[in-house]
């Protein structure tokens, strides 16, 4: 085994070792902070190895037989190391490392045992995501895909004593499972059509146009469904805002580096296959753009700082998917990378704010910039990056996405995404103005977060800036022949959004209430999340509960009924027969005499 394979395997193994250690050695886990340090040490080694792998540009593939069969194994496990997975490894390990360090301070009030549990889950989560990233085939990807789903369930429901958190965890699990059903059906169909799960083999066949199997469009659509669930695309995006019930660092991890990016990564990874079915690609682009717009409008009316960020995540995932659907998957992946950096930054900064004021409601914050200037600055850096202001990283990647969509002549999605850019700037600066400027509402004395939390924030802010400058110098992913008017347009849109937010929430020139009144129907719909949650709840009650009630009825009155009847019969029969056993010797002699008589009769009549 060469170094090319060994080091990525080390990256993968470290979190797993840490997970095993924490899961098996109970006393270590129950130390809480000690468990955290173990987990952080493991992920730090992982991160160092990942950076080395990335800078060296390793390329390798190694597989081992998993399910052997005649004529080659049915399924294999292994690692596929290429520029795409290298970059993703760095992002995942970096964000996880920073989140885990940050959590030490953020969750310092937790008792040791839950804290140890938290770090155990964290290690497993990172391991699952890394396994997904390195997967050389669909089957391994699916296994880790499900593991990621399980871990997100565990972490969202970390505070499982709170009913809202438990519900959110179950919701996240079930909604993503809806997509996963499509995913596995697609995988199996693809396997039965081509006989392989391996990416490289599939890509080779795709290149030789040997993949013209009937129903490929359906297969790819089903596989795409998995990404719809995981990456929170319309209409399966409803779990993500609720996932905010977990601890803030978990939200940062889920939304920046893991879980939601898995769908985009999968589409990017299997882009050669999706390229064969232009119809599905167009659908992906439209759904992505629509998701982006829809989520952005919901973010504009949301008052919970974490939920605003959640909607913005959905919105940005829409961007990435739209890029993938336009055939510019690498531009989408680049946006994933930059988004991972600044969204982790935003979430962790929001966590610092929540930690300081003890509420999620932005209208109960206000004037926090004076109390916590460092957090304010990094939050504004993240906001600028998300709004797409040069020279921050978000500008270039969003630019590439828009260029890619324009290139594909998808006018509708392009317009939606452009309008979303305006809304993005608006809702993010709305949060900034309401939270950090304006009148102070918060009681108590908000204070700057401890350095364990500030350190990751500054690091991420610096990386956002540095990566943006690096992109500016090196050009980043080629976004094709993007029209010259695109950069001024997107800057203009961002500035317009900024100006609108400033006018409404800082200057007070436009009264937000009157704007809401003017757009009353839209406001009403957006506040109720376009009724999708209600729709799902209704469907759940109507179909699932109805079906369950039917099954329950059958079980209670039919299946149980038979058994109950049998037991009742046995009891009654026993009750009746009990009288035979009178305990009087003479009665038994009666029986004997009668039996003998019967024998005589039998002997006389039948012989």
């Amino acid at each position: 085994m060469t170094l090319n394979v060994g080091l990525p395997l080390l990256v993968l193994a470290m979190p797993f070792v840490s997970f095993l250690l924490l899961a098996i050695v109970g006393p270590l886990r129950r130390t809480g902070r000690g468990a955290g340090l173990v987990s952080i040490a493991a992920i730090a080694i992982s991160f160092a190895a990942a950076v080395f792998v990335w800078t060296q540009g390793f390329v390798a593939e190694q597989t081992w037989t998993w399910i052997p069969a005649d004529g080659g194994p049915i399924a294999t496990v292994g690692v596929l190391v290429d520029p795409l997975s290298n970059k993703m490894l760095v992002l995942v390990t970096l964000v996880s490392l920073l989140v885990q360090i940050y959590s030490l301070a953020y969750l310092s009030d937790e008792r040791p045992a839950p804290l140890g549990r938290y770090y155990t889950y964290q290690s497993l989560f990172v391991f699952s995501m890394l396994g997904l990233v390195l997967a050389p085939g669909f089957l391994q990807m699916f296994v880790f895909w499900e593991l990621v789903g399980l871990c997100s369930y565990l972490l969202i429901g970390f505070w499982y004593e709170r009913p809202a958190a438990a519900r959110a965890a179950v919701k996240a699990f079930w909604i993503t499972k809806l997509g996963d059903v499509g995913f596995i059906v697609g995988i199996v169909l693809l396997w039965s059509a081509t006989g392989t799960f391996e990416f490289t083999e599939l890509f080779e066949k795709a290149e030789q146009s040997a993949l013209a199997v009937p129903g490929l469009a359906l297969i790819m659509f089903l596989i795409y469904l998995g990404a719809v669930g995981k990456s929170a695309q319309f209409p399966l995006h409803v779990w993500l805002p609720d996932a905010m019930e977990g601890p803030t660092p978990v939200s940062a991890l889920i939304h920046a580096a893991t879980m939601v990016t898995a769908g985009v990564y999968m589409v990017t990874r299997t882009e050669p296959l999706f390229a064969l079915v232009p119809g599905v690609l167009t659908l992906i682009a439209w759904v992505g753009a629509f998701t982006a717009l829809l989520a952005a409008t919901m973010a504009c009316v949301e008052g919970d700082i974490k939920r605003v960020l959640a909607y913005s995540t959905i919105s940005q995932l829409g961007y990435m998917m739209a890029a993938a659907g336009s055939g510019a998957a690498l531009a989408g992946f680049q946006h994933l990378f930059t988004h991972g950096l600044f969204k982790a930054l935003l979430f962790l900064a929001a966590g610092a704010v929540i930690h300081a004021v003890g509420t999620n409601d932005i209208f109960r914050m206000g004037g926090l910039f004076r109390a916590m200037p460092q957090t304010g600055i990094v939050f504004i850096v993240g906001t600028l990056a998300l709004a797409g202001v040069p020279p921050l990283a978000g500008f270039f990647s969003k630019e590439a996405v828009l260029g890619g969509v324009w290139e594909a002549h998808l006018a509708g999605p392009f317009l939606m995404l452009a309008f979303t850019a305006l809304l993005t700037a608006f809702y993010m600066f709305r949060v900034v103005f309401v939270t950090f400027f304006g009148r102070a509402h918060a009681g108590g004395h908000p204070h700057e977060a401890p350095w364990l939390m500030r350190g990751p924030l500054w690091l991420l802010a610096a990386l956002t800036l540095a990566y943006g400058i690096w992109l500016a110098l090196h050009g980043g992913e080629p976004s094709g022949e993007a029209p010259a008017w695109l950069p001024p347009l997107s800057i203009g849109l961002a500035l317009a959004g900024f100006a609108l937010a400033w006018a409404m929430y800082q200057r007070g020139a436009i009264d937000p209430v009157r704007v809401a009144a003017a757009l009353a129907p839209l406001d009403y719909l957006a506040r109720r999340r376009y009724g999708l949650d209600a729709l799902y709840a209704g469907l759940y009650r109507g179909i699932l509960l109805g079906f369950s009630r039917l099954i329950g009825w059958i079980d209670r009155y039919f299946v149980d009924g038979i058994l109950n009847a049998l037991t009742a019969l046995t009891l009654r029969a026993g009750d009746g027969l009990r009288h035979i056993q009178s305990g009087r010797a003479q009665d038994y002699v009666y029986g004997v005499a009668f039996g003998v008589l019967l024998l005589f009769v039998w002997a006389q009549v039948w012989r």
């Binding site: 009087r584 010797a585 002699v589 005499a593």
Partner: protein, 100 residues
């Protein structure tokens, strides 16, 4: 000459009367008497068959039976008397100390 079957019918009748006594009597002495009748029905059978076969085996058996019966009645009546001294009754239904 009276035929074998007449003896057998007589024996069956005596046996049935004895059985009836055992089944219906509540008095322990009555039950013992019933048992005696059943045993004597057997004796009649044995003697009848001995005569019919022209040998003495049945008669010898009968002698044994009579002596065993005597012993049995002696022991049985002794038990009944002992019980009567303690319980002041020999009603079989009320001698239920061992009943579960």
């Amino acid at each position: 000459m009276i035929g074998l079957s007449s003896y057998l019918v007589l024996a069956a009748l005596v046996f049935s009367i004895g059985l009836f006594g055992v089944l219906t009597r509540r008095n322990a002495v009555g039950i013992l008497l019933g048992i005696e009748l059943m045993l004597n029905a057997v004796n009649i059978n044995l003697v009848a068959f001995a005569r019919y076969n022209g040998d003495l085996i049945g008669v010898i058996f009968t002698l044994f039976t009579i002596s065993i019966t005597v012993a049995e009645v002696a022991v049985g009546l002794a038990i009944v008397i002992a019980i009567f001294r303690v319980r002041r009754t020999v009603e079989a239904d009320r001698l239920d100390l061992l009943r579960g």
